[in-house]
């Protein structure tokens, strides 16, 4: 089992990092031939950074469009961010003061995350329009994330596991050593689901995470009259003339 999980995590990390790197490269190399920011848009680069920051940190556009989705989505994403930070303690030794400080918040965040996911999932059943646009994978994605959240919370509150051994396992992986994992169904389930999530990340709608940074309607400066913007393939039309 230890070896299986070790291989699984190496593989999942490889797919996550390699897949995302490829996708980001793919987004970056594809030109945006025309200026299409959704206006009113910032007229300077710092303005665009600010717009993007508001979008990524506060989900500004979503806030404007639907408060329910915003509230549940925000709960989930902020929760997830804190939970991820809390989990850093499995990968660093010793645990620094900042990391130690956020530990309790990470626990609350776990509940917020699952609650947010629950709200989003409920909408997929209760709101006819969202039911209409949901695919099986949309449901499974939520199930997967809730599964990860619940198994994590379960190990915190219901059936403790030996987290010192878990930490030794991951620290070992980082040095290419295979240490034992606790033989605990919660650990296997939790880690298995996490690995699955990592594997499907670069081939699923989770690509919205890098995607938002590349969205031309949000990341372009509104200055088409002041500076000429031409994509390489379009510039060829000019020289052909």
């Amino acid at each position: 089992m230890n070896v299986i999980f070790a291989i699984l995590f190496y593989l999942a990390t490889l797919i996550l990092v390699g897949g995302l790197a490829y996708k980001i490269y793919d987004f970056a190399r594809t030109p945006a031939p025309l200026k299409i920011p959704t206006t009113p848009a910032p007229t300077t680069a710092p303005g665009v950074v600010l717009r993007m920051a508001r979008e990524v940190i506060f989900f500004e556009s979503l806030f404007k469009s639907n408060l329910w989705i915003w509230a549940f989505g925000y709960m989930f994403h902020v929760g997830l961010a804190l939970v991820l930070m809390r989990h850093l303690r499995y990968f660093v030794d010793p645990v620094g003061p900042i990391l130690a400080f956020i530990q309790p918040f990470g626990v609350y965040a776990g509940f917020a995350m699952v609650a947010g996911l629950g709200g989003l999932w409920a909408r997929r059943f209760l709101v006819a329009r969202i039911r209409y646009i949901s695919t099986p994978s949309d449901h499974l994605m939520l199930a997967l994330l809730i599964g990860i959240g619940l198994t994590g919370l379960g190990m915190k509150f219901l059936m403790h596991t030996d987290i010192v051994t878990v930490k030794a396992f991951f620290l070992g992986l980082m040095r290419f050593e295979i240490n034992p994992l606790p033989a605990h169904p919660g650990v296997y389930l939790h880690l298995g689901l996490v690995a699955l999530l990592m594997i499907i990340f670069p081939i699923s709608k989770l690509l919205h995470a890098p995607g938002v940074f590349f969205s031309p309607t949000r990341n372009q400066v509104d200055n088409p009259r002041e500076a000429r913007h031409v994509a390489p393939w379009a510039a060829q039309l000019d020289s052909g003339k």
């Binding site: 987004f27 594809t30 030109p31 945006a32 031939p33 025309l34 200026k35 299409i36 959704t38 206006t39 009113p40 848009a41 007229t43 979008e55 989900f59 556009s61 979503l62 404007k64 469009s65 639907n66 989705i69 989505g73 989003l120 909408r123 709101v127 006819a128 329009r129 969202i130 209409y132 646009i133 695919t135 099986p136 994978s137 949309d138 499974l140 081939i203 699923s204 709608k205 690509l207 919205h208 995607g211 938002v212 590349f214 969205s215 031309p216 309607t217 949000r218 509104d222 088409p224 009259r225 002041e226 500076a227 000429r228 913007h229 031409v230 379009a234 510039a235 039309l237 000019d238 003339k241």
Partner: protein, 509 residues
């Protein structure tokens, strides 16, 4: 064609409509004939093997347009856009929800371009490109006006217009073009304007206008055409030359130029500001149309290019002309240098007629008799392409302030419609993006519904009787659909129509 349909009824409390799947699946615009298609370089008709050619074209576009690639990958089906499209609100058809419209293409994208879609199509909602799917594309990608309202609300900025444009490009390239738009593109390439008005006809019209204005005001306001060495080239939608109420704005521009004492000219070669290449999503087509303006500007030797009241034309002019044809500033490539040397660097190139008029008003160079507009109680309809695809003036949002400033400078009675229906979240008129054709009348009437509701509230509260707008398509669309909602055809008009009514002219020149 135009089957019977029911005009939506005003709701006491507008809420999100119930879905009626398939409510608009019967509606399709006329398909372009072989002659129309081949005339602009597309295959004449759908022929065997179209599926493969469509997928190849999609692959090409995915490699050329970051928007399309990112938008295909990023949607999470959150549903934020589902109640934002005027066509969904007016038709109740769930395929008119932006996400569902995108999904018609995204399901095909997944099937042919992603691993999960190749292995588990059902799971991720991936679909083969079949004739049924193509029919849905043709129906619903021609029920989008590319107004970008959904893109305001999407947390990832996904713009359905980009997807619609890609779908239309693909369909053009497999021989399934739309008659209305492709006919117009043929006309503009051949004659120079969307309406196919030849030069001599334009001269006659303009001469007639000079006589009309003389009779009306006693002032010799000129409507010059093809005048070399004029300072300003005015490029305006060809509807301004003869359609009502468009022509009243053309008179308004001419009066403004007259009052400013500026020499200006129209061009018979570039007698069209509109650019239907945008609607079909074809960069090459859009470029070809834009090049006519560059050619005319060089030939006439003008210092400045000003664009008349037209929504999508202003988007193309403001956001794309510099890219497509080097009309703008800051270009240092050989392609644009010739034009740069000629155009006045102290002016915005191109300038919107509203920017121009507002500048003159601020300088105190125009005089108005505001009472002349007192029979009008006015509101302003922000045209989608101006609101969400362009700018006026120096700061973001100038496209909202400047036209309103002009109206307030020339008229006394002005009210805004409800805030959730104007400015950046304005509702499209329902006729933009290449759907302004009678074979889509049902769509146009239903799509105007949210705008009509907002206007009707203002009519009840304040007796508003004039909706000003700065778009030729909005004007034509509203003239047609206003009567369906209990308004008069002439309840819509241009901002420069108001200017024209109030401006005080002397015979100073």
């Amino acid at each position: 064609m135009a089957a019977e349909f029911k005009t939506p009824e005003y709701r006491p409390f507008p809420t999100v409509p119930e879905m009626q799947p398939g409510a608009m699946s019967h509606l399709k615009p006329f398909v372009a004939s072989e002659a129309v298609q081949t005339n602009i370089g597309f295959p004449g008709k759908l022929e065997e093997g179209w599926e493969g050619r469509a997928i190849d074209k999609m692959g090409e576009l995915l490699g050329k347009y970051r928007s399309l690639k990112v938008f295909m990958d990023s949607c999470v089906h959150c549903g934020a856009c589902t109640d934002k499209c005027h066509y969904f609100i007016g038709t109740n058809d769930p395929n008119n929800m932006p996400v569902a419209r995108q999904e018609l293409m995204r399901s095909v994208y997944r099937r042919y371009f992603t691993l999960p879609g190749k292995i588990f199509p059902k799971l991720v909602g991936a679909k083969d490109l079949t004739k049924d799917v193509l029919d849905q594309w043709y129906s619903y990608y021609w029920q989008c006006s590319e107004c970008r309202r959904c893109s305001v609300f999407c947390p990832y900025g996904i713009d359905t217009a980009e997807v619609t444009m890609a779908a239309r490009t693909i369909m053009d390239h497999i021989g399934q073009g739309q008659k209305y738009s492709n006919e117009i593109l043929g006309k503009v390439h051949k004659i120079g304007n969307n309406l196919g008005l030849p030069g001599p006809a334009l001269f006659n019209t303009l001469e007639g206008l000079e006589e009309d204005v003389k009779e009306d005001t006693g002032v010799d306001v000129r409507f010059p055409m093809d005048v070399k060495g004029a300072e300003v080239l005015l490029v305006t939608p060809s509807a301004d030359f003869f359609a009502e109420p468009h022509i009243d704005s053309l008179i308004g521009y001419a009066k403004v130029f007259h009052a400013a004492g500026v020499s200006w000219t129209l061009s018979s070669y570039a007698s069209e500001a509109g650019n239907f290449g945008l609607f079909n999503g074809s960069y090459e087509m859009m470029r070809k149309v834009a090049m006519r303006i560059r050619t005319a500007a060089l030939e006439l030797g003008v210092k400045r290019i000003i664009v008349g009241e037209c929504g999508h034309a202003w988007r193309v002019a403001y956001a794309f002309w510099n890219t497509l044809a080097g009309i703008g500033a800051g270009a240092n490539d050989p392609f644009a240098i010739e034009l740069q040397k000629q155009l006045d660097p102290n002016c915005k190139q191109p300038t919107h007629i509203c920017e121009y008029t507002w500048d003159l008003i601020q300088q105190g160079r125009l005089k108005f008799d505001k009472e002349a507009n007192d029979h009008r109680i006015i509101t302003f309809h922000d045209s989608c392409n101006v609101a969400r695809g362009s700018r006026m003036g120096d700061s973001p949002g100038g496209q909202f302030e400047i036209p309103r400033n002009i109206i307030r400078a020339v008229a006394n009675k002005y009210y805004d419609m409800s805030p959730e229906t104007i400015r950046e979240v304005t509702f499209c008129c329902g006729g933009g993006g290449g759907v302004l054709t009678d074979d889509l009348l049902e769509l146009r009437v239903k799509g105007a519904f949210p705008r009509m509701e907002a206007l009707n509230r203002l009519k009840e509260d304040h007796g508003v009787n004039f909706m000003a707008t700065i778009c030729a398509i909005c004007k034509a669309q509203f003239t047609k659909v206003l009567p369906y909602y209990g308004f008069k055809m002439n309840n819509v008009g241009g901002v420069h129509q108001l200017v024209s009514t109030a401006i005080v002219l002397g015979n100073e020149h």
